[in-house]
Symmetry: C2
Subunit: 224 residues, 2 copies
DNA sequence: CAGCATCCGCTTTGATACTG
DNA sequence: CAGTATCAAAGCGGATGCTG
């Protein structure tokens, strides 16, 4: 992109990561750690392959992304964030918090991939009772299951099913997101297609405590 | 802009404010409060006038900006952020913190306007001794002076000179920024053109205490 | 003058095809 | 798998003109 040419920290940041797709590439790398080109391409539905290649080059150039050859027997190129790149997490966090309410608008054409939930899960959920036995929540709401586990007061998110989940949530993505973030009450969520197995009361242990999210905020009137 | 079409809070946020210039328009409105079209245009050097008009329309559409007619005798249109728009402040804050180190690269072509300092001043400086007499710092480093004053532990920034400043800083923008944020030691700053009148020791009262910014971080080796 | 709209050349993006 | 090549469409930047 052409530089804004302004001696301003915000403008300089946007010079580096303000291009179309760039921050979503960072999102993918924050979620996945190291990733292959193909992983990034499938995690960013809609991106043109030449753009992905060009953005990765620019991000490498600006010190946000590191590219390296995976050791044998993998023998493929991998991309990962540098420390400077991981420093973008607060930017993604702020954008995600601001954008959260926008998920309420029904958008039937929107793509959804379960691993996208890993970022809000790590940034916005936590374990309020870290001294009790760890718990495992399995989400079934997209292309693959996602498993959340508590560890040291924080939440880990990993793709795949859990062996012995304490709670399984199954339903439309918007509803699962809403019930996880506490913007949708469980009974409301069930009316919108949420199904669960296990102890739904465990949710309170990980939901954000911060007020500010009013109940049903995430669900627009047309849905609710 | 074309939507990313992804059910992800970050992608939705970028759908709304990811367009070129959009977040810089929000920056101007965060700094200025209410602003006229012409104020925005001069505060955003390089933007095409039709783009500014189009972005303002989009921001109004998405509930970020409110447009209204100023009461007589002003009789001009004013733009200001809605509450939803002011909620973008953490996004600008995160971007600015990440972009701060990029200001170190010398960029002779870059434009600079003093009022841009008002945002980092409010977000990153504070008064660590709010019970003492308020202080006033005048910055002379761009198109117009900027005056910082302490109030209730926070920092107000207003354009214009101070009547009786406790400290006046004068010098190149990068140097003044560095010395304010504490990434440049006063003696180093003086070697790079900083001049001051008054009590330079007052700086410690408002500089960020957060570590993380290492001395001279803001000044690249080629400058320092 | 403030607040745009129009026009035009240039750059960026998106979609698809192709390659080592 | 990991891209490059190609080309049409959309977006942007700059200049200019219009309107209250």
């Amino acid at each position: 992109m052409r530089s804004y040419g302004q001696l301003c920290a915000v403008a300089k940041a946007l010079d580096a990561v303000g291009d179309r797709w760039t921050l979503l590439i960072v999102r993918e790398l924050l979620i996945r750690g190291a990733a292959r080109y193909t992983d990034l391409h499938t995690g960013l539905p809609g991106i043109a392959t030449n753009l992905l290649a060009e953005r990765l080059r620019e991000l490498e150039q600006s010190g946000v992304v590191r590219r390296y050859d995976a050791p044998p027997p993998v023998a493929t190129a991998l991309f990962e964030l540098t420390e400077r790149g991981r420093d973008l997490e607060p930017v993604l966090d702020a954008l995600g918090r601001w954008g959260g309410p926008l998920l309420a608008e029904p958008d039937p054409a929107a793509a959804f991939q379960t691993h996208w939930l890993a970022l809000p899960a790590r940034l916005r959920l936590s374990d309020h009772e870290p001294d009790r036995r760890p718990i495992t929540v399995e989400l079934r709401t997209g292309d693959e299951p996602l498993t959340l586990t508590t560890r040291d007061g924080r939440i880990d998110a990993r793709p795949g099913a859990a062996e012995t989940p304490d709670l399984v949530l199954d339903g439309p993505p918007q509803i699962v997101i809403g019930v996880l973030l506490g913007t949708l009450e469980p009974d409301q969520a069930q009316a919108h297609g949420l199904r669960h197995e296990g102890d739904i009361a465990l949710l309170r242990r990980v939901q954000p405590r911060t007020p500010g999210a009013r109940p049903n905020d995430l669900i627009s009137p047309t849905v609710a």
